[in-house]
């Protein structure tokens, strides 16, 4: 007797605009997609609820319906909506904002937490100044180059922190040596 093939979990039969809205809501509210789908249904069903919320949802559903009409395969629809939701979520998250905008400010914020004002002025402000100038010219050329500049300067920031810590340690050892020997 031949074994019955297992159904593939990622295969779905339908993915409509309500499912798409549920995907977006699930990401935003940090709930599961089935829960979000129930929420969508509840908002649409509940005539006594907030009318503005219902109208906004209805408009979003209309937009999503038009968008999904261009993608015939349900699995592809879901994958694309999930990818788009992920991009939007990450881009609007605090971590993303902290790391990537505006150039140099997060570095200065971190340096302010760790170092004295003097070190900030002597080491990190000039580094960020160079970073901003270099980033400006890189951004004019291409987004990729700008992103690479960001990464390179984060690495340089870490290098500066590391070297400064090494020097501080050596200074401390020297002070101890002078005290005891």
């Amino acid at each position: 007797m031949a074994a019955k093939p297992k159904p593939k979990t990622h295969e779905i039969n339908s993915y409509d605009e309500k499912d798409a809205a549920a995907t977006v809501l699930a990401a935003g509210l940090a709930i599961s997609e089935p829960q979000a789908r129930d929420l969508v249904d509840a908002i649409l069903r509940d005539s006594a609820g907030n009318k503005d919320v219902k109208a906004t949802l209805q408009r979003s559903l209309d937009d999503l319906r038009d968008l999904l009409a261009k993608i015939p395969v349900p699995a592809t629809r879901r994958r694309m909506i999930r990818a788009a939701t992920f991009r939007v979520t990450v881009r609007h998250s605090r971590v993303w904002r902290f790391l990537f905008s505006p150039p140099g400010s997060p570095m200065l914020a971190i340096a302010r937490l760790i170092y004295s004002e003097e070190k900030l002025e002597k080491i990190f402000l000039p580094l960020v100044s160079d970073y901003r100038l270099e980033y400006e010219s890189a951004a004019r050329e291409s987004r990729l180059k700008a992103a690479l500049t960001r990464l390179a300067y984060w690495w340089r920031f870490l290098e500066a922190c590391r070297l400064d810590k090494v020097y501080s340690l050596l200074q401390m050892l020297k002070t101890l040596r002078d005290l005891f020997f």
Binding site: P126, S129, L158, E159
Partner: protein, 114 residues
């Protein structure tokens, strides 16, 4: 004779503020060779042809400044909306550099080929 001379020169001219590491010597060399004109960190990195790193140059400059071998001036860069530091050697800086030049010339400073 030559070995004796090298050993003598390879001894640091003084300790503490007068001590230079190879990269610190390189920075001093670039600044002195620039005719005493002010230079900023990025300029030093570019002129060092890859010997200095962008990430560490300001730590080294800060150390040289603390030793009193360099003095810095702040200049406002409008496009970056931030202040940039320009460095030039001080009189003690020139003295220390001259003393160490002999050491570097006979290869007493590891990694220095200026």
């Amino acid at each position: 004779m030559a070995i004796k001379r090298q050993q003598k020169l390879a001894t640091p001219p003084s300790h503490g503020a007068g001590t230079l590491t190879a990269t610190e010597y390189l920075i001093m060399h670039l600044l002195v060779e620039n005719g005493g004109k002010e230079m900023y960190g990025l300029e030093l990195v570019e002129q060092s042809k890859g010997k200095l790193k962008k990430g560490t140059v300001y730590v080294l400059l800060s150390r040289l400044e603390e030793k009193g071998l360099l003095k810095a001036r702040v200049e406002l860069v409008e496009s970056a909306a931030i202040a940039r530091r320009l460095y030039k050697p001080t009189a003690p800086g020139y003295k220390v550099f001259t003393a160490w030049r002999g050491v570097a010339e006979v290869g007493g400073l590891r990694g220095v080929t200026v």
